[in-house]
């Protein structure tokens, strides 16, 4: 690689000077250091490569972490679905009945409705009607249509 020198400047020839070229003062050619330029360029390139690789590594790391999180979500969702099915299986009336009978329990006798001679003090305290446990069970949808 050769040093780069400034181009020679020529003044526009005037009518008076066309016949002969006059001597004039020119600037000293600027000496450029090839080695320094090369080092700078290498450094810039190295920095660019390092930056690109670093960014790529960061992106890859984030991607791996995201996939690990997705895998955790998948595991949790799979476990949630399995637990829902297991709870429903355990609550199956036929299973509960069989388990109760295995424990020596028997089906209750006919339901008898008592006729009370007077009202009890607690009468009317509890609402009459069916209550649903769905509202307190996190595994069940909210079946109330009230928002």
């Amino acid at each position: 690689m050769s040093a780069i020198t400034a181009p020679l400047r020529r003044s526009r020839p005037t009518p008076e000077t066309t016949a002969s070229v006059q001597l004039r003062v020119v600037d000293e050619p600027v000496v450029r250091h090839t080695l320094a330029y090369a080092v700078v360029m290498v450094l810039v390139l190295a920095a660019a490569v390092f930056g690109a690789v670093s960014l790529n590594a960061l992106a890859a790391g984030a991607s791996v972490e995201a996939r690990a999180l997705e895998a955790q979500v998948d595991v949790a969702e799979r476990e949630y679905a399995r637990l829902i099915a297991e709870v429903a299986t355990l609550e199956d009336p036929a299973r509960v009945r069989a388990a109760a009978e295995e424990l020596g329990m028997v089906a209750p006798g006919p339901v008898r409705h008592l006729t009370l001679e007077r009202n009890l003090s607690g009468d009317g305290a509890a609402p009459i009607g069916r209550t649903s446990d769905a509202a307190t069970d996190p595994l069940k949808p909210l079946l109330s249509v009230e928002h």
């Binding site: 890859a60 009336p93 036929a94 006798g109 409705h113 949808p141 079946l143 249509v145 928002h147």
Partner: protein
């Protein structure tokens, strides 16, 4: 500086240095222009002409699109208890190419990755499949074979950990029914690819299925995913959960009762429908024999049918309530009207008799219903006329499917009155020559229970919205069929049919409640439709509490022994109705018992249970002793039937 260039024709020419440079620049520009032009042409060809094909090739080479299956919606009962859900299961597959030797493009031989007997022996105990069968699949000339589908996820993890060459594990959703056979015929089932095949799974396939998503990944030449590469996710749309009107506890009781009745009365089958009055909600719909949708394959395909909806039968005497309601509504009779009822009546060349022979009696309409008199009902129907009877039966829901929309639902059979012949009116009036499904019969009685207003039955309450709350379906259609006074009068007659001295449905009584209902016993038509067989259908339909009905229960038993609805279907009705009233916490309207009586009855029951337990224990001891007497001769006389 001057240069001299010789030319053959024109002699020497002087060319200055600047001209030479300019000329070279021009040449360079020309060459560059040609190159740019060529590049542009190629660019246009790549980017425009061949763009689509090249893009596809590139995508195939580096991108991989995975289909993400949508999770199928759950099916809940009316209290949010799960009847059907999906879990993640493992599917084991093999690539048989891994077990075949091959050659590289250079001609070098590549040995198989593993020997099929080794792989088969490793998998056989885990999959529970014969090793020879696995080996046979591994040696097929294919790229992909299933070894086991939808096995336990943990088992899939075990197999994956073995790192067997050519063996892969996929994750796919599996439909499960946690309550087993509970409501199996109503809920239905899906195929192995989670597509609804039967029941509500098929009916609401478009709601439950959801939309699958896609995941686009970029992969390296080796096939591995590039961590920082393209990753475009279009998430699947989860299927919508559906909430049914069924009540799991009442459904369980109804199924137990249906199965018990089938066994106790040596019947072919039994169906039971429990409906809530005023809403059209079907609380239970049971049929026996039943099946477990988790374990299909061995059962009779007919066991999968929801007979309460798909099968029809002649309603028999249960029809009389509708005939009388129509006559009351039309003013042909009043509740106090009395008729002279003979033991038999001849119409259209045929003689119709009452079940119990009797001399000519003067009975009120109430007594006709209580005694289930065929003759009296036919007399009322004759006064009503063909057209009116036909019209009212259709308005009560006969001859057309309900609005359940259940797959395979039958609309029953009721010929237009213009096609009736001489004996059609009397036979149809008493529930013959007409066919209904059990849901149609239950709904016609629900109309009487609802003060004469028909409400279309429904099996679905709604769906679960994104907020986890119930999004109810529109309220079912309603239509007034008869006046409240007519319905009230018919209910009073039906109450006498259960509680009256001559009522045929006394076994349908429920302690603490007044019950209104009607028995039915009808011969089954022959298969070819010509005449009747010697087999019977026994039915009972009723409601309680009689003065403010909350629940309607309909019971049908196919070929019971004994044949009578009052002896077979009525007690089954009582069993189910009692459980339904208890589950719904309906206050009793009948006479209760005082505390001492209740204590006495409870004590008697406990003693009875203790006695049964003692007998059971004695039987167990006897069996043990009998088993010990190996050489003793067996006495056939001791093998008493249970």
């Amino acid at each position: 500086m001057l240069r001299v260039r010789a030319r053959a024709s024109r002699g020497a020419t002087l060319v200055s240095g600047d001209d030479l440079a300019i000329r070279r620049i021009r040449w360079t520009l020309a060459i560059f222009a040609v190159l740019v032009l060529a590049s542009t042409v190629k660019l246009v060809q790549i980017q425009v002409v061949d763009a689509a094909d090249l893009a596809a090739v590139g995508e195939r080479q580096r991108a991989r699109t995975l289909e993400l299956p949508a999770s199928r919606g759950r099916i809940y009962d009316r209290d949010g208890d799960v009847l059907a859900t999906s879990v993640q299961a493992a599917t084991i597959y093999a690539d048989p190419r891994a077990y075949r030797g091959t050659h590289t493009p250079e001609g070098r031989e590549v040995p198989p990755a593993a020997e099929t007997p080794v792989v088969a022996d490793a998998l056989a105990p885990l999959l529970g499949i014969d090793a020879a069968s696995i080996q046979q699949r591994l040696e097929q000339d294919r790229h992909f074979v299933y070894l086991a589908r939808q096995v336990d996820h943990e088992l899939g993890a075990q197999i994956r950990a073995l790192e067997l060459p050519g063996i892969g594990v996929l994750t796919e959703p599996q439909r499960v029914y946690p309550a087993g056979s509970l409501a199996g015929q109503v809920v239905g089932f899906t195929d192995i690819d989670a597509e609804g095949l039967q029941g509500l799974e098929a009916r609401y396939e478009h709601v439950l299925a959801g939309q699958p998503g896609t995941l686009l990944l970029e992969r390296a030449p080796g096939g591995l995913d590039i961590a920082s590469g393209i990753r475009e996710l279009e998430p699947p749309v989860v299927g919508t959960d559906v909430v049914l009107t069924l009540d799991r506890d009442i459904q369980h009781v109804a199924e137990l009762a249906a199965a018990g009745a089938t066994e106790r009365f040596d019947a072919v089958g039994a169906s039971i429908v429990v409906a809530e009055v005023g809403t059209g909600d079907v609380l239970a719909m049971a049929s026996a024999p039943s099946f477990d949708p988790n374990d299909r394959g061995d059962e009779d395909p007919s066991d999968r049918r929801n007979r309460a909806v798909t099968d029809v039968f002649e309603p028999g005497s249960t029809q009389k309530a509708l005939t009388i309601a129509a006559a009351l509504e039309e003013g042909v009779i009043t509740p106090t009207t009395t008729l002279e009822v003979d033991g038999a009546i001849r119409v259209g060349g045929s003689t119709f008799t009452d079940a119990v022979r009797h001399p000519t009696e003067r009975w009120s309409v109430n007594q006709i219903m209580e005694r289930s008199s065929n003759v009296g009902t036919i007399q009322i129907a004759q006064a009503l006329g063909d057209e009116q009877l036909d019209s009212y039966l259709r308005r009560f829901g006969y001859g057309r499917p309900t609005q359940l929309g259940f797959p395979g639902e039958s609309g029953g059979l009721l010929l237009p009155h213009t096609e009736w012949w001489g004996t059609s009116l009397p036979t149809i009036a008493i529930g013959h020559g007409v066919a209904v499904s059990l849901i149609q019969l239950a709904n016609s009685y629900a109309t009487l229970a609802n003060d004469g207003v028909a409400v279309a039955p429904r099996l679905v309450l709604g769906s679960v919205g994104d907020d986890g709350r119930l999004a109810p379906v529109p309220a079912p259609e309603t239509e007034r069929i008869v006046s409240a006074a007519t319905a009230d009068a018919v209910r009073a007659m039906l109450e006498d049919a259960v509680h009256g001295d001559h009522g045929t449905g006394s076994l349908a009584q429920v302690d603490g409640f007044r019950v209104a209902g009607k028995t039915g016993t009808a011969r089954k038509p022959l298969v070819d439709g010509r005449g009747y067989s010697n087999e019977y259908i026994a039915t009972f339909v009723g409601m309680a509490p009689a003065h403010d009905p909350q629940v309607v229960v309909a019971v049908m038993i196919d070929e019971p022994q004994p044949i009578y609805g009052g002896l077979t279907a009525a007690p089954v009705f009582a069993e189910v109705m009692e459980a339904a009233l208890l589950a719904l916490r309906v206050p009793p309207d009948g006479a209760g018992v005082d505390l001492p009586t209740a204590v006495r009855l409870a004590t008697e029951h406990a003693a009875s249970v203790d006695a049964q337990a003692a007998v059971a224990a004695a039987d167990e001891v006897a069996e043990v002793v009998e088993a010990g007497q190996q050489d003793a001769p067996q006495d056939p006389g001791t093998d008493d039937p249970p």
